[in-house]
């Protein structure tokens, strides 16, 4: 009985700690929250950097809060509900599934909390605007790069993240359209989904590459497979240095793979800009009462190959 009382006291104590840590945050100042697809992908940390920089510049509190498990729609919805309850000043979300979050976005808007989408859109919702890459165009650019490195003939496979993610599907659509328009004789062998899990991505690539010796190339719609050290990546490719890999994003590890010649091209997004612009746009909406002029704000893409990779690596110092 004594120990029971002690343990209840322990719970109370732990909670007091959380309460005190939360107290310092409790204030009437502006509080913007970014909700990424998950917080376990290094891609989002670049967005976080941009978010923090803008927060510092504008003097507002910012926070990154997302599901721990990747591609988890329910967790995002639960987080959004808590944010609505907390009545934060503004939210920017990259949805794991555009339909799953529509209801909660609309409810946030109804409660007077401005909501934007970034990186991946939820077009059917009442979100104010979308800040991110024009994923269809990015996909077409990836297609161009694939043709450039693979040639007029060959077999490729696609590795994607969550099959529900709108941004990834748009990239695939653009990629396929580009190949069709160029009228090349390349064949798509299969499309695999790693659900945003980097370990799973490498394993799937390894399995597929080993079982299909005629496979020439991979198109990876995100960075999960390519953010690995050289040894692990080469292993996944079954040591086939002749494979053509077209990937996405500009995380440091993948830039190093480009430098080493293992990845031929990366379509770089600008997550830092996205994070920054989200905070700036939300600030404009809340403080200056200014709505963005465009509903789709394109942050643009970069194409990184061995020729210009050094310039991007230097930004990571």
């Amino acid at each position: 009985m004594k120990i029971q009382k002690f343990l209840i006291a322990l719970i109370v104590y732990l909670f007091a700690i959380f309460y005190i840590s939360g107290c310092s945050r409790k204030s009437e100042s502006l509080y913007f929250v970014l909700v990424p697809k998950s917080i376990s992908n290094p891609y989002w940390f670049q967005a976080e950097d941009g978010m923090k920089a803008a927060g510092k510049k504008l003097g507002v509190k910012v926070e990154l809060n997302g599901p721990v498990q990747a591609a988890d729609v329910t967790a995002q919805v639960n987080i959004m509900e808590s944010l609505i309850a907390r009545h934060v000043s503004g939210i920017a979300i990259s949805p794991n599934d555009p339909d799953g979050v529509t209801e909660v976005i609309d409810r946030a808007m109804k409660e007077g909390i401005p909501v934007l989408t970034f990186d991946s859109d939820a077009p059917k919702s009442k979100r104010i605007c979308y800040i991110g890459t024009d994923n269809y165009q990015a996909g077409r650019e990836a297609g161009k790069q694939m043709i450039k490195f693979l040639g007029e003939k060959g077999e490729y496979a696609i590795m994607t993240g969550g099959l529900g993610a709108l941004n990834l599907n748009e990239r695939i659509r653009g990629f396929r359209d580009e190949l069709k328009a160029a009228k090349v004789r390349v064949k798509e062998v299969n499309i695999l989904a790693c659900n945003d899990d980097p370990d799973k991505a490498l394993l799937q690539i390894e399995d597929m590459t080993r079982s299909m010796p005629t496979l020439d190339a991979w198109f990876v719609t995100g960075c999960w497979a390519t953010v690995s050290p050289q040894g692990a990546f080469l292993n996944a490719l079954n040591h086939r240095k002749d494979m053509v890999i077209i990937g996405f994003d500009t995380v440091k590890e993948e830039l190093l793979l480009v430098k080493a010649g293992l990845v031929q091209a990366l379509i770089g997004q600008r997550p830092y800009d996205m994070g920054e612009k989200c905070v700036e746009t939300l600030y404009d909406i809340v403080v200056n009462k200014k709505k963005p002029q465009k509903e789709i704000i394109d942050t643009g893409v970069d194409v990184i190959t061995q020729e210009n990779v050094e310039q991007f690596l230097s930004k990571h110092k």
Partner: protein
């Protein structure tokens, strides 16, 4: 009289819940609003429903690890049926039936082949999840009709409909465990299986019923969840079996079997839901949430074992 006796056993966790609520109410003016409170209750209602089913199996000194996958599969099947234009009632039936059948299979494998529940339901976890991938080919299924989504997003007066399902299911389960012979026999089996068998309890039949209800509960949660989100994912429910077990254990269910109450389970699910909401409300880093939830489970189990 029975209800009061039941709550008395779970007094410890109820007090812990009240303390958490008081703290959060003081820390954030946004906590004790009707909107937020019902929002939290709705968010944990899915786990609560699963946990009630799970508890039946744990009371028999067994366990059901397949509930998360059943949730995913039932959601996917219902969504596919809806997409194919089936009437809403039929699609709900399809979803519920899938979970019930899998639960029944679990029970049969465990009793007829005398396999450990852990292994059987672990295997079923993969099989059911695999089936969910097969029927959807990995793609999420959305575009569900508005009238179906009312099940998950609608309200009756100010109470969200999933919450009403949770309350209804809890009442039925409580009556089952306290007033129905088979329900009471679950405790006997968990307490001492051999003695129960010798005193004439149809042990195998009762166990199968427990696992069947567990499967049904998971399927019910699955159907309600896709109605809530408006989309069915093949990965939905991954890891939820741990949440269901945690809610059950926090609520006073003993993993050794023979003990457990429905009200305890609801309080356990409530503690987890309030904690999740509270941590976001307080601005605690998302990384610490996992740690906090795990810590609560350890503390609860420690409390439970020390009580003996």
């Amino acid at each position: 009289m029975v209800k009061f006796g039941v709550k008395f056993k779970s007094l410890g966790v109820f007090v812990a819940l009240v303390i958490m609520v008081v703290f959060l109410a003081l820390a954030s003016p946004h906590f004790l609003t009707t909107d937020n409170v019902f929002s939290i209750i709705r968010s944990f209602s899915f786990v609560a429903i699963m946990a009630i089913g799970e508890t039946l199996t744990i009371i028999t000194a067994g366990i059901d690890l397949s509930v998360g996958s059943i949730l995913g599969l039932s959601g996917c099947l219902s969504a596919i049926a809806l997409h194919a234009g089936w009437p809403v009632f039929a699609t709900i039936l399809v979803g519920l039936l899938s979970g019930t059948v899998i639960g029944f299979l679990n029970g049969e494998l465990i009793t007829r082949l005398r396999l450990p529940p852990f292994i059987v339901t672990l295997g079923m976890l993969s099989m059911a999840r695999g089936l969910a991938y097969v029927v959807t080919r990995g793609w999420p299924v959305s575009g569900l009709p508005q009238n179906f989504m009312q099940l998950g997003q609608g309200y009756i007066w100010i109470v969200p409909i999933p919450v009403l399902f949770m309350i209804g299911f809890a009442i039925l389960a409580s009556i089952f465990l306290n007033k129905v012979v088979i329900g009471r026999q679950l405790y006997a089996i968990g307490g001492n299986e051999e003695a129960s068998r010798l005193s004439g309890v149809p042990v195998n039949k009762v166990k199968v019923i427990a696992y069947t209800i567990s499967g049904f509960a998971a399927a019910l949660a699955g159907v309600l969840l896709i109605a809530r989100l408006g989309v069915a994912q093949s990965v939905a429910g991954q890891g939820y079996e741990l949440d269901a077990i945690a809610a059950s254990v926090i609520g006073g269910t003993s993993l050794m079997g023979g003990e457990g109450t429905v009200s305890g389970v609801i309080i356990g699910a409530a503690i987890m839901g309030v904690l999740r909401n509270g941590l976001v409300l307080l601005g605690v880093s998302a990384f610490w949430q996992q740690f906090a939830l795990g810590a609560i489970i350890v503390v609860a189990v420690a409390l439970d074992s020390l009580r003996k």
